[in-house]
Symmetry: C2
């Protein structure tokens, strides 16, 4: 089967590019002397995670407990659930932790207290805020060291280390210096905290950082032991705008049909449920190519549920391939991702969904 034969809309991943991206990040981790624990939320497919973990270390990062269960079922036994643990899911996580090495994130005294009280054996990571201000404790706040101490004093908890994520790196459009500064800030926040913890007699083994933008630009990770990028395996237009990939590194796209051309406007059968409403850098909802790889003068400026609204006119155009703003959200929307090599469809995989 060829790409042209696929029912539209559908998501396709170019496996040659996936493999190249996976190898490049694995090589970078080796060069930097850290292990790679890829975040699999980008694709939610064990087959892809296997391509990302070619060495002896098979650890992965997940965003949902549903992913943790699914990947555990498919042979992954060292999994970090990189979301602050929802207390209501503690029992379920503890149960899974009896079967595999499941690490959970803690960043509040309230959740730490729940874990201590529950007396269920569990691996834990202290999540640190390195400037993103989403989740994580302030590493300069003495209370953060107290929180670490609380966790370490609980015999049933195995504190793996500290972990952070510089999500604010996604704001560095056309700003390589700003991006590099954030990558260093991400590293320094956890390395400094680890040094102080060590000094306070609260030593631990792992120091984990990671986002695709920061891992792509950082050149020195002294003091860090693992990285957790995820998006790099697919990349997307957001990453392109950050300067950390080229167009030809983008492995995920959506194949769509032209279902109408009217006086300079065009309608595609890929809407918000095929592309997500992620605005990316605010430059439309995707770049449009023909199936031979030629970029088309079509501006995909709007999405409703199943319609993609474009400006442009290309006589006779039947199908297009759209590079998305945010590949993680796109992959999660599709029941199936088709794997292609060149023009040929070589397989299909279903991302796990839900929570």
């Amino acid at each position: 089967m060829r790409i042209h034969d696929l029912p539209t809309p559908c998501a396709v991943m170019d496996l040659d590019v996936v493999e190249r991206n996976a190898e490049a990040m694995a090589a970078k981790a080796d060069a930097l002397g850290v292990r790679l624990r890829p975040h699999v939320k980008t694709h939610k497919i064990p087959h892809v995670a296997r391509l990302q973990t070619p060495g002896p270390f098979k650890g992965i990062t997940v965003s949902t407990l549903a992913e943790a269960h699914h990947f555990a079922k498919h042979g992954f036994t060292d999994i970090t659930w990189a979301l602050p643990l929802p207390p209501s899911r503690l029992a379920e996580a503890a149960e899974l932790a009896e079967r595999i090495d499941l690490g959970v994130l803690v960043d509040t005294p309230a959740t730490a207290a729940r874990l201590v009280e529950a007396r269920r054996p569990m691996r834990v990571w202290l999540k640190i805020d390195c400037g993103y201000h989403r989740a994580g404790v302030d590493p300069t706040d003495p209370a953060s060291m107290d929180l670490l101490r609380t966790l370490m004093e609980a015999d049933h908890l195995d504190v793996r280390g500290v972990l952070t994520h510089a999500g604010h790196s996604y704001g560095c459009k056309d700003d390589p210096e700003g991006l590099l500064a954030i990558a260093r800030q991400e590293r320094d926040a956890v390395v400094d905290f680890a040094a102080r913890a060590d000094h306070a007699g609260l030593g631990f083994r792992h120091v984990s950082v990671g986002s695709t933008p920061t891992c792509s630009v950082i050149d020195d990770l002294t003091g860090v032991t693992e990285i957790r990028p995820g998006n790099y395996v697919f990349f997307d237009l957001h990453q392109l705008g950050l300067g950390v990939c080229a167009v030809e590194d983008i492995a995920l796209s959506v194949v769509a049909s032209v279902i109408g051309q009217h006086m300079g406007r065009m309608v595609l059968d890929c809407g918000a449920l095929a592309l997500s409403k992620d605005p990316g850098h605010g430059e439309g909802y995707g770049r449009v190519f023909d199936l031979d790889g030629e970029e088309l003068p079509i501006a995909l400026h709007g999405l409703s549920q199943e319609h993609g609204l474009a400006k442009g006119y290309v006589p006779g155009l039947e199908k297009v391939r759209v590079l998305p703003n945010h590949s993680c959200l796109v992959a999660a929307l599709h029941p199936v991702i088709y794997g292609v090599r060149g023009d040929e469809v070589v397989g299909q995989w279903a991302p796990v969904r839900g929570w």
Copy 2:
């Protein structure tokens, strides 16, 4: 089971409100003398569609062929696929049309030519643009009448009528007069075209309009035979901003856990995959209530894949219920929608997904 016991994040629909919304629109259709062919893309669940079609007419509208197949399997035999027919899906649609009354949309000479050539029996609707400028032919263009003639002259095609959708009604925030004007424009565009077609000897039976905002405000549908609103069964914050529902009419919400409170900011476990990135009217990603129905002083200003980022501080808060910007996209993201009455969970249903 109670709402508080549900795993988070999850989507819940209040069945009392669903039934009330369904009855109100059915009553409105009766009062206006039109049949109601609800758009089921809002929920993609046959059980909900049954609540929307209490009378003898059981016609529905769908947005994907996957919905058409699923609802056909669950007993719906009169279905309009309200997306301009993608030529590559013609054979599949024709096959389904052998088993049920499937209507497809045509709005280009190219697609009409394909349907004529294919010689497969099919119900067709001519889609008219009433000012939204997404899909549809210009009703004032003589070529549109020619297109209708082409369809009517093909013996194997059963032209049901003309159809339009005033999607531009969604832009009428705090503008009831503008919204009413669009509702009348939607009606007049198809009624006028139908009169001219009749005059030209191209009479047909049905004149179909519909969007939840326009169907909510229109008070005279003379010349129209059916309406196709969909969102009204759930409503959402977007509709609230248009003034066509009250907060207590919003039937769909997302239950989430508080997974972190840090110095005036709060993290919820509902991100872009639980709420969609639909920006609504640009006032954040949802309104946040406690599980007793009290609105909370929490501004949900950001979403990443699985994190909801909020400003606010409510000591001891564990779970919340978020009213979404766009209920259609939210329902489609969830593997399951829980049905509740008051605080009690009375069932669960899976929306069909894919295309």
